[in-house]
């Protein structure tokens, strides 16, 4: 596929969603973070050298339609199970970053039937800490410049000149922010049910965490990893909450290496 081509709009489970498709071969489903797909392009291109990358904008995000009644990541994970079936994907590697990692964990906790690997990059979605404190940085209560500082080792990879952004990009940013509030306002960035379902993840899982993550601390990542049977944890140097944006080469290398191990399943033999 021509790498200059932008996302195409496809109808999935009755909703028009934009999907960026790159590369050939083994399918990789990339689930972008709450800040949208902008900034993940380089990582997607690197993965596409070795695999067929399917990178949708989540319903409600970017320019993807929000189906009526969809209001939780639980709903969203059923949408993605439909997508996986409708696109006929098998032996699928699911890679989710931050909020996208939450979706990935919800998908895998429901069924791993068509999955072979799960990679979670600074994933959120489960609650591990004290009840009187959020485990995660509250972006809705933090000035933008401050959460950018805490989320990135170097915010330059993300910062844009808002003044000169085209209307379409501003609309996508506004929709990303609104959709994040719809799905993650309260309970903030987690589903109270997810932690108890993580044991159902029956494919090899890899957690990659930015060594300087000021949004979801390393200790949170380690707790999350410990709740997924057999999962491995790796720190990514010189990266914050979005390691695939700040260190795309290193993260792509990890993902491709992990995915190229001979596919095998643990536990479930169905």
């Amino acid at each position: 596929m021509d790498s200059a081509e932008g996302p195409v709009t496809e109808k999935i489970a009755g909703a028009n969603v934009e999907i960026l498709r790159r590369g050939k071969g083994r399918p990789v489903l990339f689930l972008h973070p709450h800040i949208g797909i902008h900034g993940s392009e380089r990582f997607i291109e690197l993965l596409a050298r070795e695999a067929q990358v399917i990178a949708p904008s989540h319903p409600g995000f970017g320019h993807s339609e929000l189906p009526k009644g969809m209001s939780s990541v639980d709903d969203m994970s059923y949408f993605y199970l439909d997508l996986i079936e409708e696109l006929g994907l098998r032996d699928l590697v699911v890679v989710g970053a931050s909020f996208g990692g939450w979706i990935a964990a919800e998908i895998a906790s429901k069924t791993c039937e068509r999955l072979s690997r799960l990679v979670l990059l600074g994933a959120v979605g489960a609650k591990f800490g004290e009840r009187d404190k959020s485990d995660l940085l509250d972006i809705f209560a933090t000035p933008r410049s401050r959460w950018e500082e805490l989320s990135f080792r170097d915010p330059a990879v993300w910062l844009r000149d808002y003044e000169s952004l085209p209307e379409e990009e501003l609309t996508a940013m506004a929709r990303n922010r609104e959709a994040t509030a719809l799905f993650a306002w309260n309970p903030y960035m987690y589903n109270p049910k997810l932690k108890a379902r993580l044991h159902r993840i029956r494919v090899p899982a890899l957690f990659l965490w930015g060594a300087h993550d000021g949004f979801a601390p390393l200790s949170y990542g380690r707790s999350f990893c410990a709740a997924v049977p057999g999962a491995k944890f790796e720190e990514i140097a010189e990266a914050g909450h979005f390691p695939h944006m700040e260190q795309p080469e290193a993260v792509a290398r990890h993902v491709i290496g992990f995915a190229s191990d001979r596919p095998r399943r643990r536990g479930d033999t169905r």
Partner: protein, 392 residues
């Protein structure tokens, strides 16, 4: 024409220049409860005086702020329901899309209506953006939730033949059966605040009182949306009692003192704009189009004078705020003149909501203001005058 005395029941001692936000994050350590007890008693006394002198009463609520230290409007309403004799008791209002228990709202309202022997005016509001960070639900779909809460409250109040179940999109209840039955049948009058044409149309369709705050000489356009909605529905032109407006009044026997009071009160406007950045534009509160525009450049809130000059609501000079119809300042003659002109400009006004106490204003000053308005302004506004102008 009725005039409602209103104070936000502030905690002005907690305001300090170093506080970047008087909303959401200001620690309550800054509130001295002994001082606040005095404040509450003074405000209640002022409302009781308003009742005695022929004014009506307005209460509001905000949360986690020093600018309005009344997080539960039902509390002063309940006290005043018992302690006053004749005044209408308006709350404008309950933020029903942020509160999660519409049936509890119906129960509070019902009790206040009965204790006051039918004097409750039931105001429902969407709430300002910086209330959203304090809500367990986000602003996404807030208006849908608002109308469902409204529908449930009205049904709960008007269902007098035993329980019903509510299985809506946002709220689910079993055995809704509100006691006591409301005093005013079929339910107390409903007021709703609105600023967008769509929202005003929804208020007009239901025949409710439209609430507008500090919109100055732009208010006529808002009322015109209401009038147009009525015309489109083939209904007669709405009476002035379908319209209300909130402005700030600084009044004294001499102009110099009135200006001094205005300076004290304008401190309220200056400070109420102090909201920390992440709380000013909560996601979902504004349309995607407006939110996209705000990413580019933060817009200032304001209105215009009759001559079309832009006046920043939170930072304008007092003279400009008077010209814009946000403040009414001067002797009783001046204030009467300014109000009469405003009423004519908007094409008739049934309810003037008077912020008659604000900021650091003392109890004695508030008492003087209430007395002057009740004795020297209201009677003149209630006299029929230039009826042809009102109809224009």
């Amino acid at each position: 024409m009725r005039i409602y005395h209103f104070s936000e029941q502030p905690c002005p001692d907690a305001w300090a220049p170093e506080h970047k936000s008087l909303r959401v994050i200001l620690p309550s350590r800054n509130c001295d409860p002994r001082v606040m007890a005095e404040n509450y008693h003074h405000r209640l006394d002022e409302w009781m005086l308003a009742d005695e002198l022929g004014l009506d009463i307005m209460i509001n609520e905000h949360h986690a702020t020093a600018t309005c230290c009344c997080p539960v409007a039902a509390v002063p309403l309940a006290i005043l329901a018992r302690q006053t004799q004749r005044a209408r008791l308006l709350t404008l209002g309950y933020p029903i899309a942020n509160r999660l228990d519409p049936v509890r709202v119906a129960e509070e309202f019902a009790m206040i209506d009965v204790i006051s022997r039918g004097r409750l005016e039931m105001g429902l509001v969407r709430g300002v953006p910086y209330e959203v960070p304090l809500s367990v639900r986000s602003a996404v779909g807030q208006m849908d939730r608002f109308w469902e809460a409204h529908d449930l409250i009205i049904k709960a109040m008007t269902s007098i033949d035993g329980p019903f179940d509510w299985q809506g999109e946002h709220f689910q209840y079993r055995n809704v059966n509100v006691w006591p039955r409301v005093y005013q049948q079929p339910h107390p009058p409903v007021w709703i605040t609105g600023r967008s044409p769509q929202n005003i149309r929804e208020i007009a369709e239901r025949g409710y009182v439209l609430g507008t705050f500090l919109s100055g000489f732009q208010t006529k356009d808002l009322f015109d949306h209401y009038r147009k909605a009525c015309a489109d529905l083939g209904r007669p032109a709405p009476a002035p009692d379908r319209f209300s407006y909130l402005g700030i009044v600084a009044i004294a026997q001499d102009r110099k003192e009135a200006m001094r009071r205005a300076e004290v009160m304008v401190g309220y406007l200056r400070s109420s704009g102090r909201v920390a950045e992440p709380f000013a534009t909560p996601p979902g509160y504004f349309s995607v189009k407006d939110a996209a525009r705000m990413i580019k450049a933060r817009g200032k809130r304001g209105t215009t004078t009759r001559e079309g000059k832009f006046v920043d609501t939170h930072h304008g000079a007092i003279e400009d705020l008077v010209k814009a119809g946000i403040m009414f300042v001067g002797t009783p003659d001046d204030v009467y003149g300014q109000l009469a002109e405003f009423v004519d400009n908007v094409g008739g006004l049934g309810h003037f909501l008077m912020m008659g106490h604000a900021g650091h204003m003392t109890h004695a000053e508030a008492v003087d203001q209430i007395t002057l308005v009740a004795k020297e302004v209201l009677p003149r506004l209630q006299k029929p005058r230039a009826a042809s102008k009102q109809a224009a």
